[in-house]
Every structure is written in C-alpha cells, then in structure tokens.
Subunit: 342 residues, 2 copies
C-alpha cells in the first residue's frame, strides 16, 4: 500500500527524511546543529564571506507534473541553487529545503525528491541541514535556500564588465528551452523523456567547478548563470555594469541535437539559443588578453566547451551582428514571471 | 489606477522593492552584497556560529486572506522566523524573502507586506538582503529564510532539559488560538480585527530580547518557541531531551482577555491555552535554583510575565496535574500540517 503524507503526518515525514539524510547523505564540515531544532547552525570559515541564495519552483509553472520524475525534480531544484553559488565563484555548503506539499502525495515521492537533492549535494560535500514542510492544497512548491562561501572580496558579481571585454559562455544555451518545447508539443509521449534536449531541461547540470576555476583565476570581470536565457542574463550583466554588448550570430554555440532539430521542427534555432531558457550555463566577461587563460582554467577541471560569442560595449543595449556584418538591436528582457515574455 | 504585478512585471517589482528597502530599511552590518546579484553575501563575525531557519506561510492555511492586512501579514511572517532565532538565544541579522504571488496582486499590497517585514527587522538592525519572486496561480505563499548569530557553543537547543528542571513560559500561550477562533466564528466582522485576542493571532510579538537575555545568562538547559502550541512544543523538548514533564493546571497563565472569554464563548479555556497555537512565546527549562535568576535576566529587558508552570520528569510523556492533585496523561502532538490535530 502506498503511504501518503496524510498517513505519515508532518512529523512522521520529517523523521523519515532525517533518517534518509543520515543514511544516504554526507555530514558536511562545520555544521554544529542539523535538522530538528528551531534553527540549524554552522561555524563559518575565517577568511571567507558567506554566500546565500534562494530559488523556488512551483508545480505547473517551473515543471510539468508527471513529465519529470521526483528524483530529477529534486536534482533540478538543487542545480538551480548550486548554479547561483557557482555564478559567484563560490563553494556550495548547506541547503535548507522548504516544501509545500499536497496531503495525498506519496511519501516515496518525497523521499525520491530528497535523493535527487543528495545526488547533487553529495559530490560537493554539501548537505541539507534544515528546512520546513507545510501543506499546499493546490500546487506543490519547492523552495531551496543554499549557503556557500567564497574567499573574502573574491565573489564575482554581475556589475564588473567593462567596454571591450570578451563575452564567454559555457556549454550550449537554449537546449533546455528546446527540451521544454518538445515536452509541450508531445504531451503524451513519455518515451520522449529520454531525448537529449528534454534531458537538458529536466536534468540540467550546474557549473560549480567551472565557476570556481574562473573565480580562482582572478581574471574575470563579471559572471552570471543562465536562468533567464542568454540574452536575458547578458542584459543583467549589461544593466548592472552600465554597459551594452554585441554578440555574433555565427559564433553562437549549437549542439548536434539542436542542429538536428532545425528542419523537422521548423523552429527558429537562433531564437531558441538566445531566448528564455533555464540552462544553468555561465556567462563570463574578461579582457580579451585573458580569454585564453580563462578557457584554460576551465579546461583543467571540465570538458565543457567555452565559446567567445561577443564583446561588451560602452553603448547601452544588446546588438546581434549577423554574418553580413549588419548590427540588429535585440530585445533584452528575459523571462518575467508575471508578464511572461516581455 | 491600481498597479498590479501583471503591469509592473517581476523585474519592475524587484526594482520597486529594492528602492523601498533602501528608503525605509536599514543597512545591516557585515553585508557585502545585497539584493540584485545571483547571491547575497556577508562577512560572518569571528567567535560566532551562524544560525539559519526558514518558515513558510501559505494563504488559507496559515492566514486568512482578507482578514489580515498585508502589513500585519509581513510582520507576522517575519516574527515567526525571528522567533526561531530567539529560541536559540541568537541575534537576527539577515532575511531572504521568497514569495509566490498571483499576477493580479496589487503592487501596493506587496510593498505594504515589505513594510511589515521592515517594521520587525529595523529595530533589530536586521535587513532583507535577498530573495525570490515567482508566480503562484492558486495560493500566495511567503517563505522567509532568516540568518542570525550566536556566540560559539552558546546556542540553546531543545535537547538539554534534565529531570527536575523547572519549566518556564513567557506571556500568555493560547491567545493566538483564541484569536483565530474569533476570526473563524465571525467571518464578516472586520471590526473584530481590533480585538486583543485577534491581534495576538494577526500581530504576534517575538521574544528576541528575552531569548537573548536567557542565552547570555548561561543558565537555561533548553529553550523552544511556541509555534505548535504549549503542549506540542513542550513535547518537542521532552522528546529531544528523552524526558517527560508535568504541568500544573492552576499555574497556567491566563490573560484578562482570555478570562473574559470563558463564559460568553463557552470554550474550554485550558484546552485553548495548552493546545495548538502560534504564540511565539518561549518555553525555557532550567534547574530550580536558577529560576529566579532567569526571571530576573528577562525582567531586565522586558515586561513580559514569566510563569513557572511545571517540572521536567524522568518518566516519558506529559502529565497535567489538576488542582485536586490528580495526574492526567495528555496527548502531546502539536499541529500537524497533513493530519491536522493528531
């Protein structure tokens, strides 16, 4: 018989989760009090700043119920947050997980979600140290707060880009957006969950070790992760740095699965690459002479491709340069939760 | 014309909130990066542990929409979290606010909620340093993560109570439960929002300075805040300390507004005092010889009454001693989000 939350109750569930953490999670360094008291506590490392971020996923809005396994859902929710620590060049340490759950949810579903969290945290020696569980009748939500650390004054912000800086991007932005389109266009095809692009949406990777390598190089002027799409997040760098940017259409990285899509689906592949997409890749800016060094620093820890796609400019706004050399102004806002696409 | 989220958009709202914080909030010490980047960051104090807690309020479940002002809602959500830091004896420092909002919500409503956060944070020199905003079609939710600090190894846990310890409680537990009953029994009476007991539910106080005084005294063996009711939270102390407790019915503190209620409403006042209630008062345990000193330490910073209601016992379970000296075993589980009252 499937055990549901209304059977186990809140406190029964918390006990189960605590045991699962002890059995399958790791004990992170520095934790002085874990799950179970009014607060969790930890002893911060001298010489480091504490980083903190939170991100929330709401059923139906950030994921499609039934089209992602609870294990992948847990992974994805944690990756979103790890990616924010990665974008500062930091080291992820401790997570607080706050869940809003329907009472007919199977306990096993929640346990699988926690296994997804651990799948991402364990390799980083990071752990869930606290959280909250509450009922939410209409839609499930997963709010994660992630704590990290970075050497004092070494955090990489969005605001340091300078005119003339090169713009680098890791991996293949837009793959997650393509995966989401495939999911939406094929509502009954659960075999499609194995599709490479659907996997890019459901099971994205974070770039924690790549972001860390960039921070340790000391050579980047700014960094951000892509959660609002390539253009959306590049525009955040531009706004916070009071700069603009030009990107070259023919330099945009296109993965093989994306190439394969162009004709059959009839999508505008370039729109997909630069538009709203939750890829959790990194955008990095640096002076042109440091481009090769940053690529080298990343190559030492990762096989992910790093592509130089353009240049920061003193003139506000983002321009797309097509292969004929013509410069086109582009809309720069990313995904907006209340307006949708701006 | 009322401006709504679908007009201002997510990024427009974030800018408004950021400006409101700069205008009406304080700049907390130690913050190296506030709202606006991938993470917030701060420089922890040497000699202190970092405390972290999160709590979530879901519309319809933790508050009654239309029966609480957004300002009071913001205050209450922040008080819940401050109370958790208070229960460890810590100092609240920084908050991350994660909101799930309907798109037709008025921007002014959100601004008033943030003013409620600031009303609680400003006097503590604490600040909102980050957060997240997302859409949630069906029910609004407010998740707050609060960071605090406490001198190394001085955090007051639930697990330190010993047999023979006195049990102290601040204020008047059960007032919030009474207020909620009044709200539910009078669905159309918004004048009743001014009622003292309704105010105890809608506008509770935290006990941050009292909790801090207890921690600094070094004399308490355990501490917890009351968010699951007097019995519910005392049972958390008992379970985590592997102890039991006896409480004396005629020592339970009853406020004047509660006394006034007994006859007209026909409630069981004692059930209301010991049952599920979100009072954010503190339960403190200490050896009998330290009772007066702890009361004295609290009296130096606060006028809140502190009442000795019973004793920790070596025998598991909680017993209520009535005025005839008879000992009655009582059910000890507090509010459960999936089962309701156990």
């Amino acid at each position: 018989m499937v055990q549901r939350l209304e059977d186990s109750g809140e406190f029964g569930l918390i006990k189960k989760i605590r045991k699962l953490m002890e059995r399958e999670g790791i004990r992170a360094n520095g934790v002085t009090l874990g799950i179970g008291d009014d607060c969790a506590s930890f002893l911060p490392d001298p010489g480091y700043e504490t980083l903190i971020t939170c991100d929330c996923m709401v059923e139906g809005r950030h994921y499609l119920p039934g089209r992602i396994t609870p294990f992948d859902l847990g992974r994805r929710a944690m990756v979103m947050n790890i990616s924010d620590i990665a974008a500062m060049g930091g080291i992820p340490l401790y997570a607080l997980v706050s869940l809003g759950l329907k009472k007919n949810t199977a306990v096993e579903y929640i346990e699988d979600m926690y296994r997804g969290f651990l799948k991402e945290l364990n390799p980083l020696n990071a752990a869930v140290i606290g959280g909250n569980i509450t009922g939410s009748e209409h839609s499930e939500f997963i709010n994660i707060t992630l704590i990290g650390k970075v050497e004092s004054e070494r955090a990489l912000c969005r605001s340091g880009a300078k005119a003339g800086d090169s713009i680098l991007v890791t991996g293949y932005p837009g793959q997650a957006a393509a995966g989401l389109k495939i999911l939406l266009e094929n509502p009954d095809d659960n075999d499609g969950l194995k599709n490479t692009l659907v996997a890019a949406y459901n099971r994205p990777s974070h770039r924690a070790k790549e972001g860390r390598a960039v921070a340790l190089s000391g050579l980047a002027t700014s960094m951000i992760d892509i959660s609002d799409g390539l253009l959306g997040d590049l525009s955040h760098i531009c706004e916070d740095s009071n700069m603009g940017a030009k990107i070259f259409r023919n330099r945009l990285p296109i993965s093989q699965p994306m190439c394969n899509l162009i004709n059959p689906q009839g999508w505008d592949i370039f729109e997909t690459i630069i538009g709203d997409s939750d890829d959790y890749e990194l955008i990095i800016t640096c002076t042109p002479e440091n481009t090769a060094k940053i690529k080298g620093a990343i190559a030492e820890v990762s096989n992910v491709p790093v592509t130089e796609i353009g240049t920061i400019t003193g003139r506000a706004g983002i321009r797309l340069i097509t292969s004929d050399g013509v410069s086109h102004p582009v809309r720069t806002t990313g995904w907006d939760h209340f307006k949708g696409k701006d």
